[in-house]
Symmetry: C3
């Protein structure tokens, strides 16, 4: 059970209600009228809890769970513990996401403006917005409906936020136009000048950074991530893109729709991701590249060249994954000789 | 001498007092009654200063130092400059740490609440707590005795801090239960949602993140580090663990006791560190791994598999260190051929 | 055209005025009296706009641009579109920087102190300083002339800022002495304790960190970067050094003049950079190294040893770049065999 100090649970909901909402078929013991009171991981779930199996790594835990009902892939149904009620689906994690949203619906912001917030009189704040203590909102900023701006966040002059945007504590945003349902996590930095200067023996010569940051709808920007504004063109983040914590997005970068960037990734200036690119943690990209649609780049990879659509790369420098594995197998054989030599 | 604008020195203390406090044996010239007025690095120390030698790299500096007394390993005593008073110990850095704490004891917080702080009336604040300007503390939060919350920090609803916790400027904490004597550095982000979503062509489906962050006692969390809360299980940081700056700890990660994570390390979701694991800077871990007790992972390593207790790994992907060195020696020979070829 | 919501353009300026300011020679169609109203990228520039070509990668765009005048290297003049007015220079990016500064001069801070700022009465604030909402400035801090401190930033006790320093939103600075014309971006953390402790099975023993952070003139520190104060010696950043976002600088590090550190670089304790060192993104350095003057370290490199002046290194571990390429060519041949084998 989620700690009630931090979370409040809705429900209960019958197995039938849950199945209808998540589009799953009831199977196994299958008591559709049974009431589920909460969601819980397989290990700790009780008979009143709904749980799920997504990663086959946890199959053993699945077989021992006491969960009252389990969202699971149709293919794994046979491995279910006897007597379990199953909710069969092709996409158990997706289905569980909807179920968990039933039990823990996101709370709308509490409308109102904290007395200590400092909001420029020329800013426009939509209906139902909640603004926390010590928030600062600059001149002519436009805050859409039902946005929530957490304590000590700073929204610069003329920034535009769409509807239902959430800005975390101590985040700062300037020179940006942001869509709807975007989540900016705590400590995010959006819109500061890019790293643009002409070298000079005396002191670097600052190049005015005249672009913006444009963010689509349904984007997440993880905690302490930094997104610099464009130098002249804009820095763009497409709709539905998910960016994890501590990621660096340099000026003029263009990220397509539905991309996923795991924590600590770095993307250098003017590199362009087409849609649905997936990047593992700590990978890096030099500037001025094009990364094709649906490419997948492994963790810690170093990408120095354009990437074809659909390519799967790994390594620093990044290789096509089959070549990478071939090279690594060679190196592994080399290392194995060492082991043998040590024993011999 | 430490800049008196920023630091105030206690003392003076006699060599005998220092030796007693740090458990060292007086040797060399050995004037036990001599007064030490400060601590200083070997290069700049004067006859009134206590210094120390830990890294043998600095042996030459040691031989030239003018320090009045020097904490040093018994084995290096013979290399001491003539006339120096030595404080012999097995663990000079540890002993120096205690000595430096004598001269520069940590100041307790100045009790009191800044008038601009916004503290929910239902929050409980212990005795002797110091709360800085513009701090925000949410409903039902519990702040232990003698905590210090620096300016512009944000403590979310129901967060629990033990006694003697220090929270740095502009840090934010939510959904967390934190032990005693923990130091949260400036800009740290604790407790925000993990990177949990089910992919969807239209827009990612957010999975409610229902766990907490649990932090033991005597933990440090470095500046701008991010620790996401659990998805269902909790994210856990064991007592005595030291986390450097800009580290990423994903949801459900479990770090044991006494671990050390150097700057910019990234740990993916659900990975578990047993106790006393040491990780060099910029290393990364994929999710769902177990890293055995006392394992040591080199800087920039990429860990993709479970790690045995006590193992020492290096490289991306990470190898046992002997195999890594064997492979690197092979590559070095290859590179040497290049050098020869270039000259030839 | 830069979005007028965020930027206001000066001018117009004649081609002759621009040429005089940036030290360029007018060529091509060359109408010196023509008025330029703005700067713009080659793709989008109109006849009223000044643009520039620096990266030969964009030569094709250059040939199609409608820009009224183009700053370009003398050598590329022949490739210019017919009828274009050219501003010829040896260093087009540098010249463009000056031109862009004509059109978009940096606004001086709006002098004044926000009513919600909390400034210790013993702090000294120079003429023409602008201090944003909820800023906190500690006792005895010294803020030079025309500094701008953005909202929610925290300047600790006794910190010294020179003239014309800009501190971004939500940044925090303690234990630091900072020169003039320095830019501290949003979320930067300067001056917190380094990662200094003596390990102990019970709990790590904190070593008091008694040094400062000293920053020269004309330095930039990128968003969410962290610079720890020295342990005894100071942490030093030389004049004219540019540090990008999310960089980690550990205690006692000494960075020379005119160095460039790209995003997510990590430098371990006591490492020393001589002047004009350039480091690519995500590279890391172990502690106690010396990196020679003008050395260039590639992105994602791992530097474990001292580096000679002028050396060019790449890889993890870092190699001289020629050896690195030789080794990579060997590995590439190996990978090519795999491709052939797959086809065969």
């Amino acid at each position: 059970m989620a700690d009630p100090r931090f979370f409040s649970v809705a429900g209960p909901f019958s197995v039938a209600d849950v199945a209808a909402r998540i589009g799953a078929e009831i199977a196994g013991a299958g008591d559709a009228t049974r009431l589920m009171r909460d969601v819980a991981p397989l290990e700790t779930a009780s008979a009143d809890d709904l749980s799920f199996l997504d990663n086959p790594r946890y199959l053993e835990t699945f077989q021992k769970t006491k969960a009252g009902a389990i969202v699971v892939n149709r293919k794994l149904a046979e491995a279910a513990p006897p007597g379990a009620t199953l909710l069969l689906t092709e996409q158990p994690y997706r289905a569980y996401a909807f179920a968990a949203q039933m039990f823990y619906p996101e709370k709308p912001p509490v409308p109102g403006i904290a007395p200590s917030a400092v909001i420029d009189p020329s800013a426009m704040v939509g209906e139902g917005v909640g603004i926390g203590a010590h928030v600062v909102i600059g001149a002519r900023a436009v805050i859409g409906k039902r946005c929530e701006i957490a304590a000590n966040a700073v929204i610069g002059a003329s920034v535009v936020l769409g509807d239902d945007v959430r800005v975390g504590a101590n985040a700062s945003i300037s020179h940006a136009v942001i869509g709807s349902r975007v989540r900016i996590y705590p400590g995010v930095r959006i819109g500061q000048d890019g790293f643009g200067f002409a070298p000079d023996p005396h002191a670097p010569i600052k190049v005015p950074q005249l672009g913006r940051v444009l963010i689509g709808d349904d984007v997440e920007v993880g905690a302490n991530t930094t997104i610099d504004r464009g130098a002249g063109p804009d820095t763009v983040i497409g709709s539905g893109t998910m960016i994890d914590n501590l990621v660096q997005i340099a000026h003029n970068v263009h990220i397509g729709k539905g991309c996923i960037l795991v924590a600590q990734v770095g993307v250098s200036g003017s590199t362009r991701f087409e849609d649905y690119v997936v990047v593992g943690g700590q990978a890096g990209f030099t500037g001025h590249l094009t990364i094709g649609k649906g490419a997948r780049i492994g963790a810690q990879s170093g990408v120095l060249r354009d990437v074809d659509p659909g390519a799967i790369l790994l390594g620093s420098p990044a290789w096509p994954i089959r070549e990478y594995h071939y090279v690594m197998a060679f190196v592994r054989r080399l290392a194995a000789k060492k082991k043998v030599a040590d024993r011999g």
